[in-house]
Symmetry: C2
Subunit: 202 residues, 2 copies
């Protein structure tokens, strides 16, 4: 069926995808929320994001193993099964740490990081990554674009700078809203802001 | 006997005391050293200080409840029974926290603070103080100066600025080296550097 969908969309060369730029942020387990903000504390919503996520009102300070700190990093809700810190390569350089480029959720072998809240602190032995760019889409989008979950594509942003991002992973899930996620370094390097669009080229 | 010593020294109005200026620093329990630096870790000596204390090579980053961080704060060894952070009022303002003026060791009701090391983080529910100025002395010094443990005196620093510090507590212990301890704010306000002297006036 997927192959059939791919064939049907074979002539579709210009599938446009809106881009969302992710600033540095933290995902937390409920347990860690309570360590950082107090027993029974729950994250509060500041702004809805794509795919059921939200920017919370709560902030933390992150500290790397060279003891350099980055203050007021936003937490994204809802809580997850694993705590994770996503930073840009520029942030990693400022913190003096080696954060590998990884898909969200794949924190094995990633950098250690401390997360400090107003009521406590936690140390993650691993959990700090630079997020690998990817495209979220629902199965209907995947069908329309002629791609499948896990497929690696290139994405062309045609603006003043003009950049093609290669090695972009497609991630398909019924809960996903169509959006390509890049970080602030990628956005700045390519002259892209949230809401700009790019074209999937295969 | 103490009263006799005091009487004998009654005519002694000019008892000179060397001053030691304390920069912000942290005291840690061995347990906390191991949380911050790894299991079995021991502090290493960088520089001997008065009274058997030393500046360690190890540094930490401290973070207050407003999430503001201060990087590379020196640990003083040896380890103690209680962890404690001593900062200046200027530091407290920078961190956005209310640290009370307290004698070292008297941390009840003091400010919460997070301490982050390269291998972990600890949160002290209380433990951050602005150190109350005091004079350390051995019993022989106390006798010579005509003062007793716990006595509160004034100390006059006669230099370009010219300052008299009131409410200075005398702390007498056989292990103490004669020195008045003030923090960087007090030193800067009074134009004093470590090694300068001041006079006890009663």
């Amino acid at each position: 069926m997927v192959l059939k969908a791919m064939k049907e969309n074979n002539s579709e060369n210009d599938y446009s995808v809106p881009i969302g730029v992710s600033a540095r942020h933290v995902h937390l387990t409920q347990e860690h929320v309570e360590v950082l903000f107090g027993k029974g504390y729950e994250l509060t919503k500041k702004k809805e994001l794509m795919g059921g996520q939200y920017a919370s009102n709560e902030l933390v300070t992150i500290v790397g193993y060279k003891l350099r700190a980055m203050e007021n990093v936003r937490i994204l809700g809802p809580v997850r099964k694993m705590s994770q810190v996503e930073i840009s390569k520029t942030d990693a350089i400022k913190l003096g740490i080696k954060a590998p480029i990884k898909e969200s959720g794949d924190i094995k072998g990633s950098a250690p990081i401390s997360i400090v809240g107003p009521k406590g602190a936690v140390y993650l032995e691993e959990g700090c990554i630079v997020a690998k760019r990817h495209i979220h889409m629902a199965p209907t989008d995947a069908k329309a674009a002629g791609v499948v979950n896990g497929q690696v594509v290139s994405v062309k942003a045609d603006n003043e700078r003009g950049t093609t991002f290669n090695h972009v992973t497609i991630r398909v899930d019924a809960s996903y809203t169509l959006e390509m996620h890049i970080d602030t370094d990628e956005a700045n390097a390519a002259g892209i802001a949230t809401g700009d669009t790019a074209i999937i080229i295969k």
